[in-house]
Point group: D3
Chain length 233, copies 6
């Protein structure tokens, strides 16, 4: 945090090759690979099914009911960015709409994550401009309150650093600090392979209880097997 | 309010030409034009994407868990109406379903806004009968409790007068009192033009921060620009 | 309840012919026929529109943040089952994902109801494997906490017995104890007929207020009819 | 509603004798006497137990995150008023605190109802200045956004007219339009007498089921009495 | 469940000596001793601090907005009972107030747990009649809808059997089926002793990490100890 | 963030004199002085009125339903610390109770902020050990899941750095990074003086609208003054 309200002009962005790699893995796998951290709260939902985006975070912190700082952030965005909008307190107003999306797209921004409301969702769907938000709301906002651009913010209950990798899809939004991205990418690759092997075995009817010896875990925890009243199979 | 439970037979409806005009503007624009008033709470969502309706309000106030008054309201509906159902207290039960929708359609009603639950949503989608509700719920209701028809009600946290204009789409539901509709329609036209001009400029890469001189606003509010640790672009 | 943590191996399942019959009626009708009982809370939503399933319940009770017991339940599932996962306390973590769904499908399970989160929803949609959940969340879980399989559980605020009939569609999830299924099925048939007759009359413009003599009910409750200020029609 | 943002200077207040009478009855009885209308949502809670106030409403409508209009409302308050603050959209920020309360008290205001947050609650308790709010929150607000004073507002899901009677206590907040206050007061007196008589009988062990013949109601609704497995008493 | 709406007259109650024993242990300890089951949802809160009660459950299931079945349940209550009121769907209306409490007390009932609202809380506090509820609300209800008395119900997300032990205090409400009460009571005694010994050691400055060897657990889970940037102590 | 699960042994704590100074100002004033940042979400409430604490943060991040990391954190606490417990995902389980509080007190910890549930609240009140939590819940937890101690965490929607100043009272919890504490303390002093002067004037009947020239602000925003239908005063 910088003390008083501020706009930070230059940020260090995560490597774009890593962004692409994490993008392919998807939010759920990235979250697992990142030691189960970084997942934004599940009330942040995409405005249409199949929305999918990855990029580097430009962060904004707005007071409830005002989107001035979003307008100031646009010129700091670069192609490949995702705008991440945090709120100082709980708010469902429509801080982002079609006009802002149009401007963001003109500057190469791939999508928006906003811990408040979004409006003009039919137009955004037509534009294929993905937004993850906690509400759809036409509620208008003012442009008169101070905030921050490109400082660490809390969005959806998670810390998002400017320049961090953001991966968002139907499963939600996950954020990985730039400095951890290389290791997380490596762990993603390993995880995808393990899951592929596991999937094959499960399709064939094997049980995860056998593969991972989970009945032993249960036994140790005191779980008992009892017969019940049903028929033998 | 009329004192005790009552059904009001004859109401003054907003002008149908104004309804059509506001309908074209859409909920978000109408809300902005109406001095940012009249937007129902964002937890009232359409049951399918792309739902869109406008009409004049026939209002109903039901106690939690009972839809008797909806049944009594149907005969007071006229072609072009939208039924707006308010609840005396918080409720998610399915007060409206396919049978009521069938009857409403037979009397020319264009859609329903209900501050509770709706059921039979697959059938309603097939019928292309739009409903905005706070929940989808099959929970059945009784038909045994007194309420009101065609009095001012509070639905989604907004006052809805009988005969008011209701505009509902993917962005939510907005309500405009009949007597304000002419001015709101005029303001809508102006707004649509302004937004059109703005859109053109934003597509071309101009910044709202420049167009609206927002950096000056920020400066006045004490927002500082700092360089940050990233590279110059 | 069995006392300490336990897995019950053999359960008595509802008759599959009754399952199919209730399936055709749909969740809303089954709930009405079951004396308006058994409907799970409306925050349990399908992960895609049009999802529809019916089957016999295999029940699981997990502590918040752990899905060990789901893994142990899979081998107890039989073709035609629906897995019903209850939580010991409020939780939105993604207890179920594509790997578990793959394994469940390999054992004939038709779908899942989980009073927590689900992940990999794009893959589940592609697999056409329906899940009803209170959240979509990629949040990972541990496999280290004791719970129960095939005991009576509370899911979505309703008691679900192992072997009970589960009917789930766009309107939500309803559960009918095996021993009540025959009577509920009979009542469903009667209800469907009554609704069919009613629908015909409503399409023709008749009013439920006339058909069911609801104005008399209203009068008895003290509802008054007043003229209002609008024009005569 | 007046169209654009406005402050209405002169309002018609309910009769102060009626205010005192309704005050004695308490919120629950007034709500019942008012045909079960006018009760604000139960998430509006007093900041300390035993808080109790009645007065005439001065109404304010603020956009989320801004309390400018509260400051403008103070000079319009008269001794015996209760300030009722509505929000244009969902908000928990602390719009009211000790300084505003100090100023309100200096102008004779008896308490505040605010559909957002309140702060300085320890000081307010010491001042014995009652506030009903949906949150306690120190979150600061701006003083830069237009709104309304003394127009009809929706607070806690209920319409509140300027000058209406507000009765608030541990059970919540109820609002009665000035023109209905005489009849509601009369109905209150009748209700208090009936309840007094009922209380006497219940203390003596009589049953409401007998007094109100509720077993007959149940029978008509198809409720069956069955013996159960317990011992005869 | 009995099929259609019903009142069950005679139930088997848990042993009163066990009730007293569990009462002394308190809700948190009973819940732990009962294998961490039976705790009602934490949104059920006592209406005043220090409320504390234990007894045998008389259960009621009401439709939203109606309390007819509570009135019918009173005559089935016996001294030492606690009334447990479940709702068929989400509801915050004030189903229980001072008059019902007066009648319940006249029949020996010790308190109420209601998965909806309660009113007249100032009077209930004066009567020292404890109620646990999800809301305080003066919202009135009808007495016209069918339900159930003394069947298994779901209250606060937990199954409550008629006759079960209910223990409620500042920590919430826990329910133990009559047949498990003896074993739970035994486990409570053991737990209280263990906790007493543990408390002594913790007061003396010992660490649970040492006593329970939790650093080894952490190590096994891959938790690393790192030095950090602070000074050595 | 450190990558995988970790316990950080040594942290830099804010200066204790600054802690005391901020403590005297209280949460609301500190939040204002800190440019309106750092206020944790208002659903974190004290377990008893009048609770008040300030200290330096020892931070913990637990997965839902598990408190292993709290046990590991205790030995890293120093007199004057406040334990701040964040959760990886939404959870209301009782992660903290009387035994943990006893141990924390034995090591000089002044209080706890936990973004989940707390139990044994009657005992905690007797101990005068203050806790701010989002729920009171006896729900037991496991001690088997990896997490973090003394890394930056998000609690109540705000970033909390290890060693930061935590100020908590009836108005909520506010957190100030150690490096900003000196400036925030200075700004607190100025603010307290300004508020003192303001209070004097308001007690005397002056209006904030006059003192801060707010009618001019309103005029600029287009707020109109209209007469209304009431009598002149």
């Amino acid at each position: 945090m910088t003390g008083g309200p501020a706009v930070v002009r230059h940020i260090v962005r995560a490597d774009s090759a890593l962004v692409e790699e994490l993008s392919k893995a998807g939010a759920a796998t990235v979250h697992e690979a990142a030691w189960r951290t970084g997942l934004l709260a599940p009330n942040l939902r995409p405005i249409y099914p199949g929305a999918r985006v990855a990029g580097t975070a430009v962060t904004v912190l707005c007071p409830a009911g005002d989107n001035l700082m979003i307008h100031l952030a646009i010129e700091l965005c670069r192609p490949g960015d995702v705008l991440v909008v945090a709120l100082a307190s709980e708010c469902t107003d429509g801080l982002v709409g079609e006009l802002i999306a149009t401007s963001l797209r003109a500057h190469g921004v791939r999508g928006v994550v906003v811990d408040a409301g979004v409006r003009d969702v039919a137009e955004l769907r037509r534009m294929d401009f993905p937004v993850w938000s906690r509400a759809v709301s036409a509620q208008g906002t003012t442009k008169r309150a101070a905030g921050w651009v490109n400082v660490p913010v809390v969005c959806g209950g998670q810390l998002v650093q400017p320049g961090a990798v953001v991966v968002a899809d139907d499963d939600g939004v996950v954020c990985v600090p730039a400095e951890l991205a290389p290791e997380v990418a490596k762990r993603c690759r390993a995880r995808v392979e393990r899951e592929h092997a596991m999937r094959e075995r499960l399709v064939g009817g094997e049980l995860s209880a056998d593969i991972n010896d989970l009945r032993a875990v249960a036994r140790e925890l005191g779980v008992e097997y009892v017969d019940g009243s049903g028929p033998d199979d």
